[in-house]
Amino acid sequence: MEINIPRGETAILFAILFVIGGFVTPIMYVDLAPDSHFVEVHEFDVSDTHVDADSHIVCFDRTVHKPSDADITVEMVLLKDDGSIVEKDSFAIDAYYQTGRQNVKIERKLRTDSLEEGSYRYVHFVTLSYYNNKATKNFKFESDEFTIYDSKEELEVKSNSSC
């Protein structure tokens, strides 16, 4: 059995195929390309601190290759070395995901009154959207471990953090 699609309808068929191809290809790129094509993290350091401190410095040295085109909310989770969640908060900081390489340093408030000494790390979650919100990509970055010391004196003697 032969089916013939006339010239005009062939043009419409190709138009639909090209529109689908043009729409889907960037979305597939966002889904399949490695995270480093979008955001490359060189160093994610956190300054050591002590149990009575109100805040400490978080250094996020990154290169954003492809900027997101929506408002960005970053979620930061403070974990103990056994993996238990100590603090969790969300905030919007534009500098985190502006194009280019930048070592973003922020002072992060510590809200927990009874922090215990020990090793901790941050996990940073963010969802970035691309191509006029047609595609989104989730990123998860883990900081190097940092130490919360028992006292300020101990921190000054023992800490060698570079952040």
Partner: protein, 93 residues
Amino acid sequence: MTETLTILFLILVITFILGLLFGWHLIEKEQVFTQSSLQILVGILVTIVWAISIAAEIFIPTYTVSVLIHGIMGAVVGYLFSDDGITFNIGGD
């Protein structure tokens, strides 16, 4: 802004007319090209430009290609694909 758009529009019209004349010359005067081979050539060129536009959208953060442009390119390629459209042969003879 308006001046730039006018200049771009004029360049577009002139390029279009030159393309028409060049195509007509190739078909009528040159023996190497036939109408159907030129149709295929233009179809391939438009497809290449379409692929480049998608790559540009992916790699240039500020560049976006309109859905309409994809559609027009597809329609041009489809129209030039063959004079008789596409024939599918299902189930052999």
